[in-house]
């Protein structure tokens, strides 16, 4: 059986209040975010506006502000907040023994 979760490395490899990226061969890049509370979230690394790399935005609370035109995207739902409309795919994440696990199916969605 396929594993349901993929281990992508230790949590301490994430900068606090920042993000790192995870390329998926043949698929879309994933951004892994770390909040002030130490929570970890994952989104497709593409802003719903003009595909800005969300991993490079400023993380505050559970929101990331896109580096290109300042849309605010919820790390929890992937939805654009405020006046802006749009949504980016969310990849389920869990932490186990200090390691980051991401949902396999969602991570590989769109792989061709």
């Amino acid at each position: 059986m396929e594993p349901e979760w993929l281990d992508i490395g230790p949590v301490d490899q994430l900068p606090a209040l920042g993000a790192r990226t995870l390329p998926v061969r043949g698929g879309r890049e994933i951004a892994i975010f770390h909040t002030a509370n130490g929570q970890v979230y994952a989104l497709a690394n593409q802003c719903p506006h003009k595909a800005g790399p969300l991993s490079q935005g400023i993380v505050h609370d559970t929101t990331v502000t896109c580096p290109l035109h300042n849309w605010r995207i919820s790390l929890v739902t992937g939805e654009a907040l405020g006046e802006d409309k749009g949504c980016v795919p969310v990849i389920p994440v869990k932490i186990d023994g200090g390691r980051i696990l991401i949902g396999r199916a969602a991570a590989l969605a769109g792989v061709q």
Binding site: I8, L17, R25, N37, G38, P53, V59, D61, T62, V111
Partner: protein, 827 residues
């Protein structure tokens, strides 16, 4: 001897195991014959009291829950000091280490957790201990009696309690915590910061972001080495980095396990004759590390075993830190997110931070620091899922206030409900009655109230309250005011207030500013964080440690992000002058890293486009090797100093404009400012360097240098204002330095000089820079002092490996065969 009663065997003489037995006895004392096996050679005691025991507040007798008499009176056989080593499910027996075999009808697993030990070199040295049971405390007390240094690895609940105990026992304690804030799972950044400050004030050393590389020593512990190379001496190392459910027996017996032993709502494992309870279980995906859930489990377990099944539905937990004099409480979910609203109250003078998180009409989380009186009340509202809509505005003021009728839909209700002698302004001791009287006496604006009562005239933190009173007292006649904008929605303070208070109150960290100035959000937003970072950097050059995560991507990456997510790289080209060596290095880099374009910019230098974030450090290393440094084309900082060829070549040139431009750039590069800053030096009034639309423009004339300021060639075209004329190059440099420092110290973040000069007026600038010689000299000196820390090429540091994580992928997923991946490689 036969006993007709079914035999209940309990493995684990800890908190959950014994409580389960107590619950069963309370329901039906005659149902089972009970035998309890315990690995520890002693009776059942209150494990959470090990902290006060270590701190010297309690003795072992005080923390015993069930003494020998209890076991005897209830006919329970305690087999202490003899751990169970195997379970034979088919034969329904267990085997203990001593060889004893016991048959069971029902078996209860209550084996708790094992402390997690990070497998760094030296973790097994003598003097490395965990914090879980009496033996651990014994080891710590023996070490402490010899005095010396202790290192506690882990700044969570357990680690901090261990550190506190050891500190009280006279050891010099250093806490190493991997995450940036203490107790990050229970506290938010703001509360974690306050906690750290308080512990440090008491004399502990707290290192956050500290990653242990190894524990060293000859035969016994001598110290700890961090990954960044720092060494901390220690004769005792306490590992308190977390716990793992103890599932060994269950795993060996083939029971279903995940992180813990899987149980259903009646605490039954995958074998109907085996139950499990406490920290060793996993229920609906949750494992717990606190006692409250385990009390609830024990009730449901006993209900199902001997009475009417009630079913365990999972627990909501709350946390308190048992360090005397420090009150910390947290419960529920305060990670925020969609539809959540934070209500924050900060009272810096009393060291209080309170935050409740409301979603819809329910309270879903809370963090309290300094005043935890209402913790239980919030926790109750949270667990019962009470509708808090009607008391929402008063929620943060606590139970007494909210249920005392102070609540209403009016946000000014809190001030309205204050008694007349209630204090509004702590700094000047002004009561509500006094402020209201002043308003009724004609003080209809904030300034007027300030003038006649002094309320809100000092630190300004009561400004919101005074405005509330103006609104209540004047009703519709008060339209609100404050012409100056606040920094952002997180605060009611203006940029000017914040800058002044950072200095007055000597605030030196972002969370400290947020606490002292009553920020209404826990960790700010993308507007205020960069602003505060800059204000602190400007106020405390050399002292403040830049917060990279509070910087916009370009400043964090030291390159300009492009629409496709790649970066452009602009090396500094002093005064617009270059040479074959630099050009060759740029050409080589462009080829080697497949730059898609090299362009001459409007700022007289070359821009290399299309570099991937992974390649940036290598590109910089190559440019550094050719003597080039960052051009800061990405930063709120000095950009370019444009020059013309000047008297060296041009038939009209009056002075060496190129040379002066280079000298100005050498003096000013690297300096962070409220916004980007551009300078130009033209060799004569024909002004080929376009000096009249720059932040500082210098136009050389026969008799000297004409300095003008506040120009902008961008969105809104503005010609410079003439500042003064000086005779020598040195004077030109000095005036530039002083003007830049004035701008750095007084403008709002994201103000270019043009709007700032328009707001404060050119007369003000002239008065500070031209008329006040002593003031100008002081500004210049402060600028140069700050520059002594700033002129450090950020590219060189990155090329040498600093912050490498920002440039590299965390990992990579390569599906072996697409689209239906059979196997996966994760690099």
């Amino acid at each position: 001897m036969t006993n007709p009663k079914p035999h209940l065997v309990v493995i684990g003489n800890g908190m959950a195991g014994c409580r389960a037995v107590e619950e069963i006895l309370a329901r039906d004392a005659e149902r089972y014959r009970v035998t309890i096996f315990g690995a520890e050679p002693r009776v059942n005691y209150n494990r959470i009291m090990l902290s006060p025991l270590l701190a010297g507040d309690k003795a072992f007798e005080d923390i015993v829950i069930n003494d020998h008499a209890w076991y005897a009176d209830n006919g329970i056989e305690l087999v202490a000091g003899d751990p169970v080593v195997a379970i034979d499910r088919a034969g329904q027996t267990i085997a203990a280490r001593s060889g004893r075999i016991e048959r069971y009808d029902k078996l209860l697993l209550a084996t708790g957790s094992d402390p997690f030990i990070i497998p760094v070199p030296g973790h097994d040295l003598h003097g490395v201990v965990t914090f879980r049971d009496m033996d651990d405390v014994g080891a710590m007390l023996r070490a402490a009696s010899a005095g010396g240094d202790a290192v506690v690895i882990g700044g969570g609940l357990l680690g901090l309690e261990a550190a506190h105990g050891l500190y009280l026992r006279g050891m010099k304690v250093t806490v190493l915590h991997l995450m940036p804030t203490l107790m990050e799972r229970q506290l938010d950044e703001a509360a974690g910061w306050l906690l750290k400050e308080e512990l440090e004030r008491r004399g502990q050393t707290i290192l956050t972001g500290a990653d242990t590389a190894e524990i060293f020593g000859q035969g016994k512990v001598e110290g700890v080495r961090l990954k960044d190379g720092r060494e901390i001496a220690a004769s005792l190392v306490v590992m308190a980095v977390g716990i793992r459910p103890n599932v060994k027996l269950a795993r060996d017996a083939g029971l279903a396990i995940g992180r813990g032993v899987h149980v259903d709502d009646h605490l039954v494992t995958s074998d109907e004759n085996i139950l499990a309870v406490g920290e060793c279980v996993e229920h609906q995906g949750q494992v717990y590390g606190l006692v409250a859930p385990l009390w609830e489990m024990c009730r449901s377990l006993a209900d199902a075993l001997v009475a009417t099944p009630s079913g365990y539905g999972g627990s909501v937990t709350s946390t308190k830190l048992k360090v005397s004099g420090i009150d910390v409480f947290s419960a529920g979910d305060f990670s925020g997110g969609e539809g959540c609203e934070d209500i924050v109250m900060r009272d810096a003078s009393r060291g209080i931070y309170k935050r409740v998180v409301v979603k819809g009409d329910r309270l879903i989380g809370t963090v309290l620091y300094g005043d935890t009186q209402d913790g239980a009340w919030y926790f109750d509202l949270l667990k019962k899922q009470e509708d808090v809509a009607s008391i929402r505005d008063a929620l943060i003021f606590g139970q007494a206030f909210a249920s005392g009728g102070g609540a209403s839909a009016n946000p000014n209700a809190a001030v309205a409900a204050m008694p007349d002698d209630g204090e509004i302004c702590g700094c000047n001791g002004v009561s509500k009655g006094k402020v209201v009287a002043a308003i009724q006496g004609g003080a209809g604006t904030l300034d007027a109230v300030r003038a006649c009562t002094k309320a809100s005239a000092s630190c300004g933190s009561c400004t919101g309250l005074v405005e509330g009173l103006l609104a209540i007292t004047l009703g519709d006649d008060y339209a609100g005011e404050r012409a100056a904008p606040t920094v952002c929605k997180c605060t009611s303070f203006t940029h000017e207030d914040v800058r002044r208070l950072i200095i007055e109150k000597s605030l030196k960290a972002i969370p400290q500013v947020m606490q002292e100035l009553h920020w209404t959000t826990p960790d700010g937003c993308s507007s205020c964080r960069p602003a505060l970072n800059y204000y602190l950097l400007c106020a405390w050059p050399g002292e403040f440690v830049d917060d990279n995560q509070s910087r916009f991507v370009n400043e964090r990456m030291h390159a300009n992000i492009q629409k496709d997510g790649t970066y452009s790289v602009v090396p500094r080209m002093w005064g617009g002058v270059t040479n074959p060596k630099e050009l060759r290095a740029i050409a080589d880099v462009a080829e080697q890293y497949q730059a898609r374009m090299v362009k001459v910019t409007g700022g007289q230098r070359l821009d290399i486009f299309g570099i991937r974030k992974e390649d940036l450090p290598a590109v910089w290393a190559d440019l550094n090797a050719a003597g080039m440094v960052s051009g800061h084309a990405y930063a709120k900082a000095l950009r370019t100093v444009k020059t013309c060829v000047g008297s060296e070549w041009c038939r009209f040139g009056t002075q060496d404009s190129t040379g002066l431009g280079i000298r100005i750039e050498q003096m000013t590069w690297g300096s962070f400012m409220p916004h980007k800053f551009k300078i130009a030096v033209s060799g004569c009034p024909r002004n080929c360097a376009e000096a009249s639309i720059k932040d500082i423009g210098v136009i050389c004339v026969d008799s000297g240098y004409e300095l003008s300021i506040g120009g902008n060639g961008g969105i809104k075209l503005r010609g410079t204002d003439f500042l003064c004329k000086v005779a020598t190059e040195q004077e030109a440099l000095d005036h530039c330095a002083a003007f830049i420092q004035l701008y750095r110290e007084e403008a709002r973040y994201l103000d270019r000089t043009a709007p700032w000069v328009e707001r404060v007026g050119i007369d003000y600038i002239r008065q500070r820079i031209v008329e006040d010689d002593i003031g100008r000299e002081a500004l210049r000196a402060r600028f140069l002092y700050s520059q002594s820390f700033m002129q450090d090429d950020p590219w060189a540091k990155r090329a040498a490996g600093e912050d490498w994580k920002l440039h590299q992928h965390l990992a990579e997923i390569r599906p072996a065969r697409a689209p239906v991946a059979r196997s996966l490689e994760v690099a």
